[in-house]
Every structure is written in C-alpha cells, then in structure tokens.
Symmetry: D2
Subunit: 302 residues, 4 copies
C-alpha cells in the first residue's frame, strides 16, 4: 500500500463515508448536552460516541465531542451546518466544528537528521494506524530523503542559511506549507520557528520535546537528566506556541532508567518514548480528539 | 475521623446533596442519548458528566452514565423516577437506575489473615478516597480484629467449621450480610463461597485474585508464576460468579519482576499491586462507574 | 505482631545471623573486584550476591556491594575489619563499610497531618517488608498520634513555635534523634529543616517530594501540575541536602492523569505514588542498596 | 548506513576491540566469584561490569556474566581460553563461554505479512541500537520484500507448500540458515516450526507471542482477550522449544485497554508492545545478557 492509496478496511469505524465528528466548546450552562444532541437527532443522526467535559459544572468551560452517522451525510451537510449556526452558535453562544470522517488530515512532517519519529509516523500512516495523509516531509538535511521517498511521500530539502538568517528558509517552508496542510508535525526538527512563521502557517503545529516537561526545558535534556541523576526519562508532545516548550501538552510518557545508563543510553531509550508519545498525540489530533482549553488540552481518548 | 462520620469536604464533587447518577443500559437505537438527556433537562437538571458507550453502533448494547445536579433533588425524585419509568423503561425499553450521590454504599469486607488489602480499604475510606461506609468486616480468623475495630468498624469472627462443612459458617455470614450491605468485597478471603450463598447475598461481590487473569487461575498463583519464569506479575479485581476466577474483570495491573525475585518476593511485591487494583475497582463500583455487558465490564473511569 | 517483636521467617534471606553486606567505593582501577572478593574468600565467606558499577571503566568512580555469609560472623568480625582496613583502605585507597544483616536500621519518621506515607511505612515494618525498626515518630501535629501508638511506636509531638522561630522546635527534635537513629524519613513533613539541624543530626535523611523532580520544585506541586496541564504526575524520594529539592534522587515514579482530574484528584492519586516511591527508597536504603556518587545515587536494586 | 557496514561510534562501550564477555554457569559453591575473577585478573584484564546470580546461595545454580577489557585481546585469547578450561571447567566443574565484543551476532529474521516487528528490528540494527548483523529475512509471503531489501538485507521467499506438507519449505529454510546464523528471530512468523527443524537449526530461536503468557496460549490471542474482557493486553518474547508457547520467557510487557477497544484496536495497540518486547529480548540476547536456568531465563539487564 502506498501513501496515496485510500485507507480501507482497517479503520472502518473512523473513516466511514456517512460519519462525522462535531466539536463544540464555550461557556457551560444548563442543558447543553441535550440541546446539542437534539440538533443531530433532528437530522436522524445516530450518535456513535459522545464525550463531554466541563472544567466547572457551575459555569466553567464546556467541551463536547460527538461522533455520529447519518444517511446521506453530504446531501444533508449544508442544512446541518445552518442548523448548527442557528442553534449552537447564535442560540447557545458556542463555537462548533464539523469534520467528516472521510476527510483525512493533510500532514507535513518537518525533520532534521534523526529518523526515529519520522519513520514511525510514516509506518503508521502506511499501516492505517493513523488516519492522515502525509503530504510532504521537509528537512534541513538530506539524510532522510531516500527513506521518505520510498513511502511515496515528497521530500523537500530546505537547508538552513549559512549566514544564520532564518527568514529565507522560513519563506521557502511557508510557501510549501501554505494552503497545503491541516497539521504540521515537528518530528525532532531541531530548528526553532519564528513567531512570524507560526502565525502565517495557519495550521496547528505539534512538537515532540525529548523530556518530561516542565522538567529540562530547552536544549540537551538527556544530558541534563544524566547530570541531575533522575530515575525516569520522558517525552512530551505539545502544540507549538510562541513560548518555547510552553505550549499545551497533548501527551507525555516516561521510562525507567538507572545510574548505569549513560547519556547515550538515555538518548537511545528516550527515542522509543518519543516516537510512542508523538504517534499517540498525532493520532488523537487526526481523530479530532484534542480540544484546547486555554493553555491546557482536553483529550477525549478512550 | 471514624467510620460513622459523614464524609465531608474532601469529595464535594461526588457526595453533593443535589447530585445523582443515572445509569441506563439496553439495546442501542437512534437518538437514545438525546431522549435520555431530555428527561433530565425537563427537570432543569444540569449534566455534570455524561459517558456513553455502544458495543456496536448498528444495534448493539448501549450504556450511559450521567451525573447531574438538580435543585431540590429529594423533592423532585419521585416525579423524576416516574418520568424515567415512562420514557426510558416503557418508551425506550431500557433499564435504568438512579443513585443519589449522598447515598454512600454500605460495604462488608471479608478477609482472612492477610491484612494488606483490608487495611488499604479501611485507610482509604477513612481518608474519604472511596465514597463508602464499611459496615462490617468478617473473617475466619481473629488476626485482624484489633486493626479493624480501631477504625470504628465492627468485626465478626466466623470460623470455618472443623468438620469441613461450610454450610453453617455460610449461614452465619448470610445472616450478617442480608439486607445490611450494598457490596461485598473479598479482600484476600481464602474461602470459596458456595453458589447458594452467592445467590442469596443479593449484593454484588468483588474479589481480588492475585494473578493477571486468565493466567494462573486457582490456588498459589505466585508459586506458579515463579515456576513459569514470567517477567511480570499481576492482580485482577473481578465480580464473583459461580465460575471461579471467571467473573467479569473490573481492573488489572502488573509489576515487573526478575529471575532474582523469590516466590516470597513475588508475594510481597504482588501485595502492592493487589491493594491498588482492588482499591480502584471498589472505588469505581462505589461511584457507579462499572456496568455489566454480559461477562464483560464497561468501566467509565476517567 | 507488634513493632517490638523481632522480624522472623518472612525475610530469612535478609536478616540472617551470619550474613553481612560489604560496601566499597572509590577510584576505579584494574583488578578491584578480584582484590575485594579475595579478602572475603580468605575468611571462607560465601558471596550471596555481588553488584558492581564503575561510572567510567577507564578511571572513574567504582562502587561494589557484596552480600556474603560466613560461619561465626561475629567471631571473625574484628579480624575481617582489620583485613579490610589493611587491604581495601590502605592497600587500594578505597572506602569500605561492613553492615551485619542482623542489624536493623533504627528509623525516625517525621510527619505532619497527612498519614498515607507514614502509615504505609509503619505497616510495611510490621509485615517485615522493610528490615527496619521504627524507633519514633515526631510530628508538629497530634492527628496521627493514636495511629502511630497502635503500632507500638512512640509518638512525640513537637509543635512549631507560634512566633515562627524554628530553633526551639529543632533543638527538641535534635535531642530526640541524636544518637538514637540511623535514618530519618520525612514522610510528608511540611517543615523545612535548617541546615544547622541537617548537619547535627548525623544520620542520612530521606524526603518524599510530591512531584517528578526537577519539575515543580517547591510548594504546591499538584496545583502547579494542574495549571501546566501535565498528563502525568509523580513523586520523588531523595536524600535531603541543604539545597531544597536538589538532593540525590533515590527513586521516582509517575501515574497518568487527564484533563478531568481536579487538583484534589491529583493529590489523591499522587498519594499512592508517594507512598510507593518512599517505601521503595526506604527499603533500598535499609538494605544498603544505595550508594552516593556525588549528587547522584547508585541503586543496586534487583 | 547499510547492514554490511560496521557499527561505529554509537556503541563504543559494547563493540570495543579489546573487550569481551565471559559467561559462566554451573553448581554454586564457595568462592566462585573470586576464583573466576582471578583468571581474568591474571591476564591483567579490567572488569567493566560483573553480574552474578545464584538461585540458592546454599548449593543452587550459579550464573556469572563478566564484561572485561584487556590489551591485545586477540593475542591473549588462546592462552585465556586454556586458562578458563583448566580453572573454570576442569577445576570448578563449570561451563564457560567467551564472546569478543567485536563479534556481532548474525541474525536471520523469519516474518510473514505483518511488518511492525520486522521493520523495527531492521531499523534498530541500522541505527546501531542492537549490536547484530541481520544476514537475511525469510518469509512465506513477498509483501515485505521491498522494505527489507531497502535496508540492504537479502530477502528470501519460501512459500508454504500448497499441499500442506511443510517438510519441503522447512528443508529450504534449513539450507538457508545452516551455518549462516547465530540467532533466528520469529518476528510474527505465523508458521509453527517442526521439532526436527528446531533440532537441526543449531542456533537459538526467539519468538514473539502476542499475549501475556501463559494467558491466551495459541492462536488469535487478541480475539480471546476481547472475549474475556481483560483490561491489559501484552506480548511475550521467549526462546522456542518443541512445546509451543512454553519456552523460557525473556521479556514481557503490557498496555492498558478498555471496554471501548475493539479487537482490531487491541491488535493495533498490541503491535507496539510486541515490537518493544521483541527488540528488548533480541538486544539482550545479542549482548549475551540472557542465560538459561532450566526453563527459566536469567536476564542481566541493567
């Protein structure tokens, strides 16, 4: 199976033609679940799963994710969106988003020389584990070019400018991404993106940081971990914001280490945690399971 | 704080006077979530959390747990129950159960000589971690009597009959339990209860088995684990049915072991897993988070 | 079984009359393992287990822990110590320590109002899980007094001075501890000990910090964890040094949490991690499995 | 980097020219550690790490793994082997094995259609995570051929005979393996090897079973796990013996699942555990960290 083939059989519950996901968020008040569900029921939709969360039952922030099936979804879509605008947006003052399950998110992966997170995502996409289309891989090095192209995925080399001026490389990256992707994944991409670029990309960005945040923020976390003598090392997947390593956390995990593990052992063992955590985070994002609550995430994983 | 005092402050979100949990289950069909939620909304209830699961969106078994608050719950309770009967039971053909959050479940713990699971439950009850009232502890030995009574909990000694006839002891146990408890916990109680007794108790029974089921069913699992040379040992909390160690599993967990762990090391390390798993299972049950789907459980933990 | 009874049967491999542990550390060089083992073999000792570590095989720091049995250990002890002085200290320039397995470490536990770590340690001592004698519990509150005394352990109340002057309370604590204990455990003791007191106690001190260090140093880590939106919370057991929360880490662990866990949920779930991590750290220390390598620990756990 | 290139820099501590591992096992008796170490010290070897285990200090089975460096290892090798024969084999009645660290084990991987375990091993070899040379991949299907060859590794297709007679295919496999490999890895190879083949291969065989053994022995463990309603699923790496799924266990691990995970979810999530567990087991084997104690393994991992 190549990257351009549609995902079939393996994920029938996720990518079904007449299935969609409705995300709603806003200020909590009485009766929201019923009111929102009613809109769907009016269209004879069948709710497949409903997750709901309020950070304070007495007037906090409300989040609901509803997966539903409905006969002839595309035919009814416009009317359903009008109803959502009328009832959910105008009536209840909430934000909503409707995502058909047949739409695979278009993903760009930015990588550097390290291949472990990158290959793991490509493998999972090919296997149908993560419902996404990897549209391109961009790297400031050429090391991973062959590996990427074997998956049928375009590879673009955008080297860092020798004079240290990032703006030219960023313009090139922006041109590649703009309008072409729904998600950008920094799979151990060792360059810091300027806040201008972040603003202009117009798509969410997920980064994997190779430590258990907020411990060991910044560069060389494994070396710092070895110096501090910690007994666990970890990795953190988070949305990228202008504040480095401070974005909303999607997932984290750790692995036990001992005094006998060298800094290079930590790096090797940490790589396994990094790719697991990043794959979970990207998978949840691509299934619209992650919602933002300020600088915190609400993750409706099961 | 003694066992007879009400739980206060520590669990305000669980044991609130005007809060209740509605459990609904039955055959899935279109619109159930909306229909059920509407009943609550008609009473101006505010849904605090809603969990829902269907084992097959196209006509499987449906399960919903809804926690809600409503002003003057006790005043409205009878009318709400009538509405549930009318709409949910008669109208939709589903089973429902309404549990006020102020009702702590009355729990009997049956133990033998080992104290680790027993004490852990008593500590957690005293601390307000598990919303329950431990009404009594019954044991076939007297070893734990002092410890139990220090918590203000009645201890009853029901020794096994010397002639091996269990029926007399079981009659005594039945007399103590009947009508007095909502849940029976076998906290490493080493006696097998007859199916007659199981039938007559009239309350669910949770057992902790000291292995990762279905591995090492029956007696001496740690010895068997050592003999097989496994690298993890575990524990399983399950509802008790007439089939030994075959009841619906509520929770399981494991811990890593090595060749250097002796059978008594396994026992010692396993004890920690046992009490954790049992505490989680009892806690979820007492918060009405566990529903039965045939011989499987649906656990709405978060 | 009460705290004053000797530990029997349950830990025969640890507390055997003719068994001892030899700890050796210093600069690594060729042949150390053989040279050290030879001293023991000369006394017809049988090595039960040998753990060895060097942080750099080419001239780093060397650590060896050897458990051995020898007939009539007490009779041979003086001669063995002379041989260790001659060969290991003077000959090889290493530090050594010889600990008979029959010597249970005398432990003082300092606690505040929270009982989870304290009770867990008292109970593990009673069961024989940790080879120690809890000599006393000191608290600035009286909440845990009854619980402690039921284990047969003396309880001393040393309240904080109302005028905020710690020195009087610390003098009282010092008088209680001085010469009476081999280890001090801060089991969620919420007071910071002055560096003067640390110096004078003359015994190692283990603290449990309720976060995954170095994340969330200082006060209120669960609140900070909730604010940062982390997906794991943890606990860290470390030796206490003058630098708060910077002492050598003995053990750490974490548990998964979600957006739906409130700050009080985090506290409740974290309490389980705290007592597990502290019990492991105290257990390893009491079995002489922890050695210091600068501000890092070498832990010979199996 | 291709499979035929030497592993460099990344694992200097493992594949050093003058480094070797000595494995010794047999009946325990007094002084073994010293006697064995002395042989090495006589050759001016420096012990890098020493692990030792006895399953009963009073006359059980003894196991020792010693990693050492010595100047001009190849020059001294013959004399060292003579000394080991004289002292360790004849003198102490123990078995010994000497493995130079520069010798990478030659590994054949047998696979079927599933690629997750296979690709993970090939990738770890390329990165230098596991010190091995993958000499060939054999499969009864051609699905993975391209992926394998891109790693520079020969791929051989040995289809199952259409008439169900395995002997012809097994003869072909035997011809490929015989004399060419030091280890055979069954990476989700779905065929059962005849005991004749097992005998003739003359190299240890590691299999990954997709359940937590001894639970769910045999075919379709994920389906059985779903039917039983377990809350954890796992994987087990073990040496293959004539008794299916009964061979000595090298490593096991599990992952939490819920009622909401379908059988195909279990399979997808289990795949991650399978590749982790298999990679650990193969890595430990290739570093000579696994010794056999009857039908149990002694694993000197750190």
């Amino acid at each position: 199976m190549t990257a351009t083939q549609p995902i079939t059989g393996t994920l029938p519950e996720i990518v079904r033609r007449d299935q969609a996901t409705l995300l709603v968020s806003g200020s909590d008040r009485q009766g929201l679940v019923t009111d929102i569900s009613s809109v769907l029921t009016d269209f004879e939709a069948n709710i497949v799963s409903l997750d709901q969360y309020s950070d304070d039952p007495l007037g906090g922030n409300f989040f609901q994710r509803t997966v539903f099936t409905v006969n002839d979804f595309e035919g009814k879509r416009e009317a359903l969106e009008e109803a959502l605008d009328r009832t959910v947006a105008n009536g209840l003052g909430l934000e909503w988003q409707l995502v058909p399950s047949s739409n695979l998110k278009r993903v760009a992966i930015l990588a550097s020389k390290a291949d472990h997170c990158l290959l793991d995502l490509l493998w999972r996409q090919r296997r149908g584990d993560i419902p996404m289309t990897v549209s391109m891989v961009i790297s400031n090095h050429v090391d991973v070019a062959n590996d990427v192209r074997q998956f049928g995925v375009p590879f673009f080399h955008v080297p860092a400018s020798p004079d240290g001026d990032k703006s030219k490389a960023e313009q090139e990256i922006l041109k590649l991404l703009k309008g072409n992707v729904d998600l950008v994944v920094l799979a151990r991409y060792m360059q810091i993106l300027s806040s201008d670029l972040l603003d202009e990309i117009g798509a969410p960005i997920i980064n994997i940081h190779h430590s258990f945040l907020p411990a060991f923020i910044g560069a060389a976390p494994y070396r710092k971990a070895k110096e501090r003598g910690v007994k666990l090392i970890g990795a953190t997947a988070h949305y990228v914001t202008a504040d480095l390593d401070e974005g909303p956390i999607i997932d984290q995990d750790v692995v036990r280490v001992t005094h006998a593990d060298t800094a290079s052992d930590l790096q090797r063992r940490g790589a396994d945690v990094e790719r697991q955590v990043l794959a979970r985070a990207v998978g949840w994002h691509c299934q619209d399971r992650v919602m933002l609550n300020g600088h915190e995430t609400v993750v409706f994983s099961h």
